[in-house]
């Protein structure tokens, strides 16, 4: 397999598993017309290289009786000499409550997504931890009221097949 074949194989594997992390490797190889060992090796390599960072489950917590609150927090910070935003980003993402951290262009610098059990828990984190960090200038917290679509999956309603049963 030359470099281009490997790249193509990797892309088609990633495309296939991006929305289905549980797919059986043998079945995946059949679907992609590839050798099962090659697929397994490619996946192992991509895990090692950090291209595949994990296999997670998409859960609609709304449908459980577990109460959760998600917030998007816009954070403005002072970049630090020699390190830019990296070190402040690290100080923030090390908190286990923090789900995601993005460096953003535009009116603020970091977008922090966090999950808590209640509004109070989130506000207390923002007030006591996040805002208290030395280089943080301001925070604007947006609470999520409903998730319609998550990682490409529509949570709202199930898709039904409306086609007639038999057509030419």
């Amino acid at each position: 397999m030359n470099e281009n074949d490997v790249r193509q194989m990797r892309m088609s594997i990633l495309k296939a598993i991006e929305h289905d992390g549980r797919v059986d490797l043998n079945e995946l190889a059949i679907r992609l017309g590839l050798d099962a060992t090659d697929v397994a090796n490619a996946m192992a390599d991509m895990e090692k290289e950090g291209i595949i960072c994990g296999y997670q489950t998409l859960i609609d917590w709304e449908k459980t009786d577990d109460e959760r609150v998600t917030a998007l927090i816009e954070v403005r910070v002072t970049p630090q000499r020699g390190q830019g935003f990296d070190s402040i980003a690290e100080r923030i993402y090390k908190y286990p409550e923090v789900d995601s951290v993005y460096l953003i262009s535009g009116g603020f610098d970091l977008m922090v997504i966090m999950e808590g059990r209640s509004l109070k828990e989130v506000s207390s984190f923002v007030t006591n931890k996040l805002s208290a960090l030395e280089s943080v200038l301001s925070c604007a917290t947006h609470f999520i009221m409903r998730k319609y679509k998550l990682n490409g999956t529509v949570l709202a309603k199930k898709h039904e097949d409306e086609r007639m049963l038999v057509t030419p």
Binding site: R31, V166, T167
Partner: protein, 386 residues
């Protein structure tokens, strides 16, 4: 009272698929692999453009031939994908699905008694449209050992002095067969020698899984004797929008447009605006859908091999056409009994012509999960027969 119905209509056989549809309809909980349309929704940006056209009040007739903007995009699309060039102003007509294009092409070209060569198994409308146009259908039975391609020998054997048109339905519904360049070259040579016109139904062209689709119109000397038919239903998952087109020499497209003008006026305006968006920004959608179909195709063929179900490898459309001859049943009996025993609907090959006997059409316009569930049941069913 007199019989209100014309004899030629009364004599027309009801579509073979209709009968099967009636049986399936009584079993709403059956798993169907019997559908001849994509399972994907029309990509949102295309639907959105249709909606936007309504908001802007684009609710009037277009010109008979269709929006100039759309005809131009079609010409660009055919030129960039299939290496064939048409004049938007005189060589394209936008139709209500590929099916209207088939009808008006045959009606425009046939004198009473002229023969139309129709390879079968194939889509259900070629024979009735030929008859309604006053022509005489001459059916060529395609063979599994040729992967259901039309060979030069088969074509030669069907030609008579009355032959005028060859219908070329590839990629094929129901077999999934394709015609590659060298197959088409052999056919083209005969058509030129014998002065035969081709109605090339290429509605599944975008769904080809071995190399790129080749249109016979792109071969030397063929553009002037070919009506190329394509549309948006299969490639862009737009069946309900009812939009297709025919391209060909102006002296055939112009009389076709005359027929179209009297019976249709123009294709639906909303659909035409949506189709412009499809051609401009839909290439990636088509590529993604094609890849999804291809994965299912490989999966099904692998499973058939595991089950010991004989099936040639089809490289087009979204159908596989396995042989059920080993079970010593007719296609119809096989399908009916599979439906009753395991509640899985597949379509008898005979719905697409007598030469479909011994085969069934299985559509893979379904998710892998549905295919797996259905295959499990088919496996149990054929185990009970063996």
């Amino acid at each position: 009272m007199r019989d209100p119905i014309a004899k030629r209509v009364a004599d027309m056989k009801p579509s073979g698929i209709r009968k099967f549809f009636d049986i399936v309809s009584e079993m709403p909980d059956a798993i169907s692999l019997g559908v001849g349309e994509p399972d994907f929704d029309t990509p949102w940006h295309i639907r959105d453009e249709g909606i936007y056209s309504l908001e802007r009040g684009k609710t009037f007739y277009t010109s008979n031939s269709g929006l100039m903007e759309l005809r131009k995009e079609i010409c660009r699309y055919l030129s960039r994908n299939y290496n064939v060039s048409y004049e938007a102003s005189s060589e394209v007509v936008i139709t209500v699905g590929g099916s209207e294009a088939i009808d008006i092409a045959l009606r425009a070209m046939l004198e009473p008694g002229e023969e139309v060569i129709i390879p079968e198994p194939s889509y259900v409308s070629y024979v009735p449209c030929t008859i309604m146009a006053g022509g005489v259908p001459v059916v060529v039975s395609l063979k599994e050992e040729n992967e259901f391609r039309l060979t030069a020998e088969e074509l030669m054997a069907a030609i008579t002095p009355r032959t005028k048109v060859l219908v070329l339905p590839f990629p094929n519904n129901p077999t999934g067969a394709i015609m590659e360049r060298e197959d088409l070259e052999a056919i083209a040579k005969i058509c030129i020698e014998k002065d035969i016109f081709v109605v090339s139904d290429e509605i599944y062209a975008a769904l080809t899984y071995k190399g790129d689709h080749v249109t016979i119109a792109s071969l030397p000397g063929m553009k002037e004797r070919t009506i190329l038919i394509n549309g948006f239903s299969k490639a862009y998952a737009m069946t309900g929008w009812r939009l297709g087109y025919a391209c060909g020499p102006a002296d055939i497209i112009s009389p076709m447009t005359k027929l179209h003008q009297y019976c249709i006026m123009c294709a639906p305006t909303t659909s035409q605006y949506a189709a412009v968006e499809a051609l401009r920004h839909g290439d990636n959608d088509v590529a993604d859908m094609r890849e999804a179909y291809n994965e299912r195709r490989r999966f099904l063929l692998h499973e058939f091999k595991r089950l010991g179900l004989k099936c040639f490898e089809p490289y087009g459309a979204f159908y596989v056409f396995p042989s059920i001859k080993e079970f010593g049943m007719t296609s119809e009996d096989f399908c009916t009994s599979l439906l009753k025993a395991k509640k899985v609907a597949v379509v008898p090959g005979t719905a697409f012509g007598e030469s479909g006997e011994g085969f069934v059409r299985i559509s893979y316009a379904y998710s892998i999960e549905s295919l797996k569930e259905a295959l499990g049941r088919i496996e149990e069913y054929i185990a009970s027969l063996r």
